[in-house]
Symmetry: C2
């Protein structure tokens, strides 16, 4: 990939994440990327196509953060997945922002949905396995249980600006560590028989 194209994608990710599709400006992207506006249209045939390219690029990287837990029990695996999820959201703020923008505006990002579904289904399946083996407490609606847990993780990141103040003046790393501990604790308590 040419240097210009790479820079464009990188800058466009930022712009789309911060301003949303409608708020994003091609002019601004070209200026920030230090390339001519026409170069964007040389590489991508429209704003929409640029957006799609940005998303695909982003999810390609996201997929590489695989969910192959290595624990010796379902409970441990669930905890591991949540911790990975927390780390991923922590290190990829643009991911969260793009997701928020897309969700808010019903933009269907086929790729996103595909991977998203896979992720949800995997985690739900993981828990159901634990119930089958008798390791985890049986719940009436595993899907609702997992949605709740994932929501508990996600919310902090998506509403970061509004929520952060409640944690006081500590470093972000400390908050992340607290978040992990809380989630671990919750999962333990909620899955034991």
């Amino acid at each position: 990939m040419s240097q210009g194209k790479e820079k464009i994608l990188q800058t466009a990710l930022q712009e789309f994440a911060e301003k949303g599709y409608d708020g994003a400006r091609i002019d601004y992207i070209s200026k920030m990327a230090g390339v001519n506006k026409a170069l964007i249209y040389y590489h991508f045939k429209s704003k929409e196509e640029l957006f799609t390219a940005v998303i695909n690029d982003l999810f390609e990287k996201a997929v590489s953060v695989s969910i192959e837990p290595t624990g010796t029990s379902v409970r441990e695996n669930l905890i591991q997945v949540m911790e990975h999820f927390i780390d991923f959201l922590h290190y990829n703020p643009y991911f969260v922002k793009i997701m928020d923008q897309s969700v808010a505006q019903d933009r269907d990002i086929f790729h996103q949905l595909h991977h998203q579904n896979f992720f949800f289904e995997t985690v739900i399946g993981m828990y159901q396995l634990g119930v089958q083996t008798g390791e985890c407490r049986k719940v009436d609606h595993p899907e609702d249980f997992i949605v709740s847990l994932l929501g508990a993780v996600y919310f902090y990141f998506s509403h970061h600006k509004a929520i952060r103040k409640f944690y006081g003046n500590i470093s972000e790393e400390e908050v992340i560590s607290i978040r992990k501990k809380t989630m671990k604790d919750m999962i333990s308590r909620l899955t034991f028989l």
Copy 2:
């Protein structure tokens, strides 16, 4: 309030919720509201002011859903608050959408933040009271615990479109009832000593 103004606010809420600030079109609002565009500028001096008015209007209604729990224990009160929160989000989909749009785009809605903070602080305080009276389990970071619970509630609504499929072909009322049960269960298990 004049009938036209009311209709404008109502229609603008929909438009802003669905399209976001940048995506929303004044022409479209006037057309949908069945009023002349000039009337919008007669009542509001700019798009920005219209948006602010919409938000204020929305939060005024939101506040009226007070959080004055009537249970006989902190645990019961927490459960009640969460159930009210679930109902509120269920019956006010535009609220969720506007919040999502605003969060995604760092639009500072002073009023929103004010009420939001109050809500968070109230619930956190509620739990801390339970710890003090020895009724609830002591946790290292009550704020993180409450954020997790609120996130668990909120997520379903904000990501409704992506998540709903995992619940199968049941009515929305049934899902809401399942959600309430799951949250009640979670709160019970997590707060007991």
